[in-house]
């Protein structure tokens, strides 16, 4: 089976993400990047399925040049090849623009299954997977905490408010996975060496047949109007525990009449 994993490369977790008030989007350029841990879980799931059932895993990402570090990581983990949607014309895309670009790239490849993270760890909008499925006309199986494939049948355990639902369909399908679904592997030296020889296809918006009315800031249906800070929470008291920390909390709770 051919699996395509949509994987976002995001500012490293050590970075405090800022929003550029002029461009009204996250500051990405010049910031160290990494493969989103949520995307690494999606990729891990793809790799495990292919190890069991045979086939290929293609890593698909959209992003700036700094995304290369995450692509290399995905290839080192074991992805067969990668596709990088790399074009200034794609910058500033909203969720739907992003989904259109990813869906257009997926259409160029043979695939049985698309796997995404349920949401990226920087923006958390959580709707791109559903949008991609709709644009591709395939079934969305979302918030999966377990995937089982048997021939053409696919079954997931879908996270629910009260437990989980067992949902099944036939391939082709799109699955979005929850971040706890697995523990992604670390790339091994052999994988890192092999990654250097793997193919990274690059597409522009034009290659995907998408104009400025569909993608990029100009094609975005959602426009950010203002970037601001919420009213600051009144600064609290910060103390260092010198053996009385627990008692000091108890005093505070007594002041609040909680105890």
């Amino acid at each position: 089976m051919n699996v395509i994993v949509c994987a976002k490369v995001i500012p490293a977790s050590s970075v405090t993400i800022e929003i550029d008030p002029a461009a009204k989007c996250m500051v990405r350029k010049g910031v160290p990047h990494e493969l989103d841990p949520a995307a690494a879980s999606a990729l891990e799931e793809g790799l495990r399925l292919v190890e069991k059932h045979g086939g290929t895993v293609t890593m698909l990402t959209m992003g700036i040049g700094d995304a290369t570090v995450g692509i290399r990581n995905a290839l080192a983990m074991g992805a067969t090849s990668a596709i990088h949607l790399f074009d200034d014309a794609l910058a500033g895309s909203d969720t739907l623009g992003t989904a259109k670009a990813l869906a257009a790239a997926i259409k160029k490849e043979p695939f049985d299954l698309v796997i995404c993270a349920s949401e990226a760890s920087d923006s958390y909008s959580g709707i791109v997977p559903g949008q991609i499925a709709e644009l591709l006309g395939i079934v969305p199986l979302t918030f999966a905490k377990e995937i089982t494939v048997d021939g053409k049948k696919i079954k997931i355990k879908r996270q629910s408010e009260t437990g989980y639902d067992v949902v099944e369909t036939e391939l082709p399908a799109l699955v979005s996975v929850t971040s706890g679904i697995n523990e992604p592997r670390y790339p091994q030296l052999k994988g890192i060496m092999a990654a250097k020889k793997k193919e990274i296809k690059k597409y522009t918006a034009a290659d995907l047949g998408l104009g400025p009315d569909q993608v990029g800031a100009s094609g975005a249906r959602e426009k950010v109007l203002t970037v601001g800070r919420p009213p600051a929470r009144q600064a609290g008291k910060k103390i260092t525990d010198e053996g009385e920390g627990g008692k000091q909390i108890a005093d505070f709770l007594a002041e609040l009449k909680i105890i």
Binding site: T95, Y124, G130, S179, V224, G236, I249, L256
Partner: protein
């Protein structure tokens, strides 16, 4: 004429969800509120929707909406939006809500705004307030597409207030296209978390990576019991398998707003802050003096949770026995 605002009603555990009622309250303040309710629901569901401001309820009790995920509801709601073009359609940031908003935004090519904390409607355009990056920013966004604006609303963004209406009920014809019977719900499994539930608890004690193991959550359970609260956790703790997902507080877990929130061994990642930042009083215990959680804490204790918490537990016991 007041703007027409639709709310997608959800039922969880045989009850209309709190977020549905929160959205209805907001919708009835901002315009004319109407609700859509698909699938089997408890008998008083329609009257509950009316009680919180729905002046009309579009209703189908067809089991197809329960037995097949997303696609039947997507088809029906897309058709209804085309027919009635409400100014705004509100979905909860729930599993079902996110899937439907995603599908509709692509099918109608109209986009959607996620994680909406509030919104205003002016001359057919919507301005939504989004607490971005875990609430460290507060941005406003609009949708420039024509037609219905689709918003995904954060739980607990609005206070639900009764605003009784006499709701007209309109039956929705059942969808017949076989193509929507694709994602079959084969089974529904309830996993009951132990102890008091996070929702509605006035005290929440949460643990993060700093707790280091499942066993150490016992300390939190003791403290919660003493304070009459529930235990929560960060995504890191849930992902590590220390506690079940039902205990996760954060953007991808539950949003809580208790009177007292005690964050233990939690650094304050954006993901977590989003779910607890609006708590009335926040106490944080963390080893790292630079942890972001301290910016939100009314009382921050820089120290070892394994020293501070046992002392706190003993101290509360002592004071209670006085």
């Amino acid at each position: 004429m007041a703007d027409l605002i639709w709310v997608y009603g959800e039922v969880v555990d045989e009850k209309i969800t709190p977020t549905t009622l929160e959205m209805l309250t907001k919708a009835s303040e901002a315009g004319t509120a109407e609700a859509i309710l698909l699938g089997p629901a408890p008998e008083d569901a329609v009257s509950t929707l009316a009680q919180y401001g729905a002046s009309k309820v579009y209703r189908s009790a067809d089991a197809i909406f329960r037995d097949y995920v997303t696609l039947p509801a997507l088809d029906v709601v897309a058709g209804m939006i085309k027919q009635y073009s409400p100014a705004v359609m509100l979905f909860a940031s729930s599993y079902a809500g996110r899937d439907l908003a995603a599908g509709l935004s692509a099918r109608l090519d109209c986009g959607a705004i996620s994680d909406v904390g509030d919104f205003v409607l002016k001359d057919g355009s919507v301005e939504a307030t989004i607490p971005a990056l875990g609430g460290s920013y507060q941005n406003t966004s609009t949708l420039v597409s024509s037609g219905t604006k689709i918003l995904l609303v954060r739980p607990k963004s609005f206070e639900p207030k009764p605003c009784p209406q006499t709701a007209a009920v309109e039956e929705i014809p059942s969808p017949s296209d076989p193509a929507i019977r694709k994602a079959h719900m084969a089974d529904r499994v309830t996993v009951k978390p132990e102890g008091p539930q996070l929702e509605g608890s006035s005290v929440v004690i949460s643990g993060g990576r700093g707790l280091k193991s499942a066993e150490h959550f016992e300390m939190l359970r003791q403290l919660a019991e003493l304070l009459g609260g529930a235990v929560g956790a960060t995504r890191a703790a849930v992902d590590a398998g220390w506690v079940p997902y039902a205990m996760q507080v954060g953007q991808t877990g539950k949003t809580v707003k208790p009177n007292l929130y005690i964050a233990c061994g939690i650094s304050g990642a954006v993901q977590h802050l989003a779910g607890m930042k609006s708590s009335k009083t926040i106490i944080a215990v963390n080893k790292d003096p630079e942890a972001p959680i301290f910016q939100f804490a009314d009382l921050g204790v820089v120290g070892d949770v394994f020293q501070v918490l046992p002392q706190l537990i003993e101290e509360i016991k002592k004071r209670k026995s006085r």
